[in-house]
């Protein structure tokens, strides 16, 4: 127990996976595009196919940049590792779990 306290300091984490049931929180970063101050945070069903995730969540967000071209999203990474994406595979299948960070270039 690293926190100094007068009692047993044991509490559950506020945003642990079970609180989100069958969904996960996913962060998406458009690498090298400074018009967005930060990555975006989405709540997505684990079973959603990746292609649907991109069209329903990523594109509506990314297209607030008028230069965004959805055809050009590429070089997906899961944290620091290249991610072999497929439109029909689910987020769970691709290893995109709770509070993971996805990065793409466009």
């Amino acid at each position: 127990m690293s926190v100094k306290a007068l009692y047993d300091y044991e509490f559950p984490s506020m945003d642990r996976a079970e609180v989100f049931d069958d969904d996960v929180l996913v962060y998406v970063h458009w690498e090298g595009n400074p018009i967005f101050c930060s990555a975006a945070c989405f709540r997505v069903p684990k079973t959603m196919p990746f292609g649907e995730f991109v069209t329903s969540f990523v594109v509506p967000w990314a297209e607030s940049d008028p230069d965004f071209d959805p055809e050009r999203t590429q070089h997906w990474r899961l944290f620091n590792d290249p991610l072999d994406v497929a439109d029909t595979k689910s987020l769970a299948d691709l290893g995109i779990g709770h509070k993971t960070l996805l990065t793409f270039a466009a």
Binding site: V3, M14, C37, S38, C41, D65
Partner: protein, 512 residues
């Protein structure tokens, strides 16, 4: 029968030192009906060792009679200014209505912290074991309530004519960007009394106070905001006592026992960084939200922190074995970029904030280029010019979604690597099988040191996604936040801007 001769000497007052001893130390007593540990249950668990509470010196030697006299005088002077300004429609002499976005940030973000400080210093006024620090804490508690009240009174005048001021207290507890100052103070209040003294009295009220307050007050002075400036001067005289308490607190703790030194060092490291991250809001304000800027964030940071603190204070603390804060080099490296990155957060998200933002015009961009000659044109100007182009085409770009937040400072994770200002900094920790994201080495270090505390953080973005902030849509969330139409979005065309233009329109006929 004798009468007093007209030339008799006036009755002498007690010397200051004696009066102070009589009204503090000499009013204390050692209880016989309960032991010391029962009377003071909070002063042992942090591992800090105190051998002699009488070692605490208050150089101001303030007593309750002098306190009341001087504070009453300060209030009288301040309220005279507030009345004059209000009676004379002084708000019309502001540089521009857009200036008031900085004051909206102030009442929403800072005033509630004054109130929190009032409460916690009252706690210290009971639970510190020596009469001198207890009385100093009591004075500070009343000071902080005074600051809360005077800020509310000062700023209430603007609430009559401008948006965004109306529900600051509710907003402080709920709105995403206000979690930055709120979580900072909640972290301090939920720590022990000694950590609180280092976090607030030392790090906030001494180390970083000039960086936090002088920009707001100078900004007020430069932009015609007489009431805020007067409030600032009125409060600053109290602040000099608060600074003294902070410096006295750290020296007292360091002098009491050598074993306290590493504990204090850790707290200095943590709280410098937490307070520095809160000051990022001031950086954005100084560089972007003042129609008449005072100085750049970079210049203020160099003057108030690097010169006065690193070169002035820390050599003094070196005597006790305290070194400058861990991660201070990161703060120094960031001074070229901090304000631009944080204003970008505000600009991206003012659609869901209780203030408005606008893209800097060319004159403003030129000023920024002058202030940051080595970095602005390469790293930040192109983004603002793109916004200008988007707006020239009739659109206004806002972030259509929610940001990734830092688990500790709760800012959007928007800072960049020291060696590559084009690369966003991501830091990550695992705890009990769960991933936690932070914005910097400084915040990650804080998380890793006390993960049990920070995993409980109420992060606004995650809370919205859990449905705990009024509902699933943005209008639901804004309603829950208390944000009303006109409070948020783009400054140009906003109710404040239209009102300002109407009042200052030279084509209005006489008496119109």
């Amino acid at each position: 029968m004798s009468t007093e001769s007209p030339s008799a000497a006036p009755r002498k007052k007690l010397p200051l030192k004696e009066r102070y001893a009589l009204l503090t130390r000499d009013l204390d007593w050692e209880p016989s009906y309960v032991d010391r540990e029962q009377l003071y249950p909070f002063t042992r668990y942090e591992g800090i060792k105190i051998h002699d509470w009488d070692g605490w010196q208050d150089p101001f030697r303030l007593t309750v009679d002098a306190y009341c006299k001087y504070q009453a005088e300060k209030d009288k002077r301040l309220y005279a200014v507030l009345d004059g300004f209000a009676q004379g429609q002084g708000h019309l002499t502001l540089s521009d209505a857009s200036y008031l976005n900085s004051i909206k940030l102030f009442i929403q973000g800072v005033t509630p912290l004054e109130y929190a400080a009032h409460r916690h210093f009252a706690f210290l006024a009971r639970h510190l074991e020596g009469p001198a620090p207890r009385f100093a804490a009591l004075c500070q508690s009343i000071d902080e309530l005074r600051h809360t009240q005077t800020q509310i009174h000062t700023i209430s005048n603007y609430n009559k004519y401008y948006s965004g001021f109306h529900s600051w207290s509710k907003m402080h507890d709920r709105v995403w960007y206000l979690a930055i100052p709120k979580s900072f103070f909640d972290d301090a209040m939920s720590a022990g009394p000694f950590e609180f003294l280092i976090s607030i009295s030392f790090s906030f009220e001494y180390l970083l106070t000039n960086l936090l307050f002088v920009p707001f007050m100078s900004g007020a002075s430069f932009n015609g905001d007489t009431p805020t400036m007067s409030f600032g001067f009125s409060a600053q005289s109290d602040e000099s006592r608060h600074m003294t308490l902070g410096l006295e607190a750290i020296k007292f703790l360091l002098e009491q026992d050598e074993d306290n030194v590493p504990i204090i060092q850790d707290w200095v490291d943590k709280w410098f960084w937490r307070a520095y991250r809160v000051s990022a809001l001031v950086a954005a304000m100084m560089d972007y939200m003042l129609p008449k800027p005072v100085m750049s964030w970079k210049e203020a940071f160099e003057l108030y922190f690097e010169d006065q603190m690193l070169s002035g204070l820390f050599p003094d603390l070196d005597f006790y074995g305290i070194r400058p804060p861990r991660h201070v080099d990161d703060a120094i490296a960031e001074k070229e970029h901090l304000s631009h990155q944080v204003y970008k957060i505000f600009h991206n998200f003012s659609s869901v904030a209780a203030f408005t933002t606008k893209t800097p015009d060319d004159a403003h961009l030129d000023w920024l280029s002058e202030q940051y000659p080595d970095t602005f044109d390469t790293h930040h100007r192109p983004t603002w010019e793109k916004h200008q182009r988007v707006e020239a085409g009739g659109r206004r770009m806002f972030f259509q979604g929610l940001p990734q937040q830092c688990q500790v400072c709760q800012l959007a994770i928007s800072f960049t690597e020291k060696d590559d200002p084009g690369k966003l900094s991501f830091r990550r920790s695992e705890f009990r099988g769960e991933t936690f994201h932070t914005c910097s080495d400084g915040c990650k270090w804080i998380f890793d040191r006390e993960p049990e505390k920070y995993v409980q953080a109420w992060l606004p973005v995650h809370q919205i996604l859990k449905g705990d902030c009024g509902g699933p849509t943005i209008p639901d969330v804004l309603a829950w936040y208390g944000i009303q139409t006109g409070d948020n979005g783009e400054y140009t065309g906003s109710p404040d801007e239209q009102f300002w233009r109407a009042w200052h329109d030279p084509s209005l006929k006489h008496g119109e």
